[in-house]
Subunit: 685 residues, 2 copies
């Protein structure tokens, strides 16, 4: 230890602003660490990786006066000089690991040199993710073998990992072992080692060789999405998606379960189909990012329980009937090769845990992304797909359930319904006075208004030739809400028989009405696109199921209102919170506290890919979540019936007071009549 | 706890003789355990497996007088009655888990009910092996899933393992997971679970389903041997062997290394070849034992370093030259499927550790079997193959080295040499007076003596038609030793020019002699089988290399003599210790302390298969063994030269005093001349 104060120098590091005294002669990487500024370093101070660059500024310290800081570091030489020359760095850059401090210094740490990189997850709560992935690379120099040396090359690498990186008792994948001797020979005993959880070596490459990537995969019933991420920076390099090929065996989950029950090789077929698609998507993502699939070292998989089981090759049959038993609910750590994934032969796979027979790893991922368990506010998360998974909770407790909404929100079972794809009507407005519509197509920036109005057809002025092909989930939700707001349908969902000036927009066949949303000239089929009485009923039943699930959780929690609502799922990012609430899809809430976040399950998968602690968090989420079984809940049916009305037979919506029609006040004689009708409707459904 | 002495009963258990008091009403399985008698139990007391059978004898205890013991157990009923009826057991048998003791008892525990089965390894030191394999089966009953139950089937199985077998935090092979739900359904929630190291589930089978088997595999350069063992009883059910198919790429280790250096796909080819042979042998062994290969759950592999590397798919090139670096020396735990072994898809493989570039897992297995590290006596273990591995040690310290003997001991490089196979001359005697030979062929029980003597040709009398095809390793060793003892060759290995009555057995071409061992009429080729001067020289060089290695270890240990010698290896079990010592293959020792044990490496593999603690012991053996590098030892060459003489130029052999010819006294002028000649001989070799 230095004996007097003059042996210390003062260092300040920007942008953190941290400063303090360190003994003269301290290595700069060590000094920064001592002051709480962690610099990136893959080569552990061997002046090889260039990750620990700092910018030397002239520093002014009142005690010492103005100084020329550059001379306050030991001079550039040896490997550092070679590195700086080879990489043509801007003046003033130094490798922190290569220099010792000899005088006071002001340094700037560029963003790329900051360790503990953080990324913002695109979720409702702006979650910050520390990039601390399960798979990382380290650079080591391994002692050469001699006639006297004991052990083996792997023994020497183990020792190097222990000494240079404090990684003790590492194991090695037997396939990675095959590359060890050639890599040592080629790298002249220097290696880049890719590690899983700091305990298993997945890969050895000669010399310094940066590049380890991961896949965050959300396997939906309909769509499979793969995000390719750089495991060092956390950046998403490519996102690829495809239709789930299992669709050919059954559109929805139950039909896939039925397929397995009818076909002895059904599991194997659907398992192979999804694995093959994942291999396609990985290859496409790797091509898009100009990397090799052999550099993909880690995968996080999420999906609903049926998808989860089929991914693993497990039969989903038990999930098709009570007691809806999962084969496995815990998270799993696998080898990609055991699943048939064609990545690096030693790549790892982490499958997030499931909660219950209908609440799967995708919902755990949603919770990981939206983090209701970390909120003070009581948060409602609604993840809508073919089923809706509903989560209600805060720091104290998180409840969840699934609700059988059916596929209406995905555009199925709707007369002109379709999946969200170019040409689909995704947004709808109806003039409450004229009952005339405006709508927006996916793939077209501008709104389409009827040609009879003053504005000319925009698609013609733009030379586009996109015509409406159908209505997707968000379109039908807005359409039904707008029909109600315009008074075209009443709160029971029935078409009003007398509109303004007997508008041609509403047509009747007997007492069954329909609304002409897009005239024949705007559609690809040349026939009008309509919203029928049956369509309105289908949406009412779906939203009632969802709402009843929400109510069940609210009752289980003993609350009357929620503080914040997150809409996630396939149509989640397109949906308008106001229309969702007008329709009675979600309970009353401050409108600005309702957020649509899109594919939150994919975000959660990405978080688990980039942060190993998040995997433990996911396990805790799955462990602690209290699952409420809607199938056996005594009051589910009653809640369901009450929720068929628009927005609801009895629940108040104070935050919609200025928007909802005057007719809304559903506790009189008309309300009771309406509920009886709805009970019959529910029974028929 | 019972409050007074009368609440206790006395139990005696035979054959252990253990006796003691237990509280009245104690379960008999518990009572036996309490008295230190561990009974077998797979079903953990569910009266399913029938392993805990005991025989109830009438017991006489002086304190109580003669009693009828049967009534001192609770009566047979329920599951036990069903089991006893179904299995037609002899009278007096009970399932210990099913009864409670209500009075004093004398019981006999039949051998098959004794847990901690022991088997005797066929090794020099009669090693007893506790059967405690890494893979075992347990029977569990799993809670059924209900609508209210959380978790999953795997979660419930984990809980059952923890509660019923105290196995905590078990994991499951993802492929075994696929069988879980069907097995639970078929077994009505009862399962037989196969566990590895009490921590990974390898297999789940419905109901009670006994049968887990393992393979102990010794991959030699020439021969591959597979022992199929019952993992519960430890019994060897079948042994199969085959030629190592890599022989087609090179007869000896160095030529296989050369093959890899010359052919880019050499490693892959030889790896596939050996794996394919192991699959053949496994299938044959399973057929012989009438089991399915799907019931083979564990494998232990041993082999010399080159075999070890090729087995794992590792290049052996580094082993072909200094510094002879192993890619990996530690033991490895693998999945059989990752090696391409076609056993149960989740079967495990344990590869024993290696010590050094020329001292491999086969030598560790030999040490595990012969256990020099557990002896008080100083033990020399010589494992002879193409190379000899030599081990010298006791409790305090174990040294080892390898010595380049070349393949002469395997019959190669010998004029009429051949591998040990039917027709090979394996034993030889020469009459010291008449110089006439007698010999024994592999595959024929009786000795063959020249027809000119009174005894008729035995093979004719027996109707056999086996003729000599060549001389194998043990045959050539006995032949050279007998030639020396008969005075046909001198201690320098030179043929004596004047024999008794100028015997026609010795022929000269100039000054180079040869001995006619089998006349033309006894050979399959119709030409005589001879031992030439060159053959004698080859054996001298090989045995000198071996002896020099032994001396090096003795010098390193600082000893002049050893207490016990174990001869292991391909010819180990056939070799006559006396002839080995007369030839000077091994140093002087009491003859009855020289043992030939055959394939000790295979025994060691079997021990590691049957006892999980032995795997840790093997790791300690490899860790603690001190490797002496013969290649760089300064005095190896001098020792080698001195060991060319028969039995040795200078070392005394007091235990052969009555056997060796009077000419043995090698420290005069003739001795020094002889050593100079040997030095030239060694240089030429």
């Amino acid at each position: 230890m230095p004996e007097n104060r003059t042996d210390f120098v003062t260092i300040a590091l920007m942008p953190s602003g941290r400063r303090g005294a360190v003994p003269k002669g301290t290595n700069l990487l060590e000094a920064a660490r001592h002051l709480g500024v962690e610099l990136e370093s893959i080569c552990a101070g061997r002046q090889t990786c260039g990750k620990c660059q700092v910018i030397v500024e002239e520093g002014h310290f009142p005690k010492h006066g103005l100084t020329s800081a550059a001379s306050h570091l030991t001079p550039v030489d040896g490997r550092e000089a070679k590195y700086l020359a080879e990489h043509a760095l801007p003046h003033g850059r130094r490798l922190a690991c290569a220099c010792e401090v000899v005088g006071d210094l002001l340094l700037v740490v560029p963003e790329e040199s900051q360790a503990r990189k953080q990324i913002i997850a695109k979720v409702a709560t702006d979650r910050v993710i520390d990039v601390q992935p399960a798979v990382r690379q380290v650079y080591v120099e391994v002692e050469a073998a001699t006639l006297e040396s004991h052990g083996s090359d792997w023994g020497r690498l183990q020792r190097a990992l222990a000494e240079q990186w404090q990684i003790k008792d590492a194991t090695i994948d037997p396939l990675a072992l095959l590359d060890l001797q050639p890599a040592l020979a080629k790298g002249k005993h220097a290696l880049t080692v890719t590690l899983w959880q700091d305990r298993e070596v997945l890969r050895v490459q000669p010399g310094y060789s940066e590049g380890a990537f991961g896949l965050a995969v959300d396997v939906g019933s309909t769509t499979v999405v793969v995000h390719l991420c750089d495991l060092r920076t956390g950046k998403v390099l490519a996102t690829e998606s495809a239709m789930n090929p299992q669709v050919r065996y059954g559109e929805d989950l139950m039909s896939r379960v039925s397929y397995v029950m009818m076909h002895p090789d059904g599991v194997e077929r659907m398992h192979r189909a999804i694995i093959s698609t994942l291999n396609d998507l990985s290859r496409r993502a790797a091509q898009a990012a100009a990397i090799s699939t052999a550099d993909i070292m880690d995968v996080v998989l999420v999906g609903n329980p049926v998808m989860h089981h089929l991914l693993l090759g497990l039969s989903p049959v038990e999930l098709g009937g009570a007691p809806f038993a999962l084969a496995v609910h815990q998270s799993l750590d696998l080898k990609a090769r055991d699943l048939g994934l064609k990545l690096n032969p030693c790549a790892r796979v982490h499958v997030l845990p499931c909660i219950a027979g209908h609440v799967g790893a995708d919902n755990v991922a949603v919770q990981l992304a939206e983090a209701p368990h970390a909120q003070d506010e009581l948060m409602l998360v609604v993840d809508v797909g073919t089923n809706a998974e509903i989560v209600l909770g805060n720091r104290e407790q998180v409840l969840c359930c699934s609700s059988p909404t059916g596929p209406a929100f995905e555009g199925a079972q709707i007369t002109h319904g379709q999946r969200a794809a170019p040409g689909a009507i995704e947004r709808v407005r109806i003039d409450p006075v004229t009952w005339e519509p405006r709508f927006k197509l996916i793939g077209m920036d501008d709104w389409i208004e009827p040609a009879s109005l003053s504005s000319p057809l925009r698609r013609e002025t733009k030379g586009e030739d996109l015509r409406a092909t159908g209505i997707c989930g968000s379109g039908i939700i807005e359409a039904v809400a707008e029909l109600y707001l315009a008074g075209i349908i009443d709160r029971d969902g029935r078409f009003a028989e007398n509109g303004p000036e007997r508008s041609a927009r509403v047509r009747f066949n007997g007492r069954t009405g329909e609304y002409v949303l897009a005239d024949a000239e705007y559609t690809s089929s040349g026939k009008p696109i309509v919203v029928t009485q049956a369509d309105v009923r289908a949406i009412q039943l779906a939203k009632a199921a969802l709402y009843a699930g929400v109510k069940l959780l609210m009752q289980a929690r003993g609350v009357e209102k929620v503080d914040r609502i997150v809409l996630a799922g396939a149509f989640g990012s397109y949906i308008d919170p106001k229309h969702a609430m007008v329709l009675g899809l979600i309970p009353d809430c401050e409108l600005e506290k309702v957020t649509a976040v899109g594919n939150a399950a994919g975000d959660g998968a990405r978080i688990a890919l980039l942060n190993r602690a998040a995997r433990l968090e996911a396990a805790r989420i799955a462990e602690n979540a209290i699952h409420v079984q809607t199938a056996v809940a005594a009051n589910f049916q009653a809640e369901f019936v009450a929720a068929i009305a628009i927005p609801h037979a009895t629940d108040p919506f104070p935050h919609l007071a200025d928007i909802l029609p005057q007719t809304f006040a559903g506790d009189g004689k008309a309300g009771r009549r309406s509920q009886r009708r709805h009970a019959r409707l529910a029974q028929a459904a």
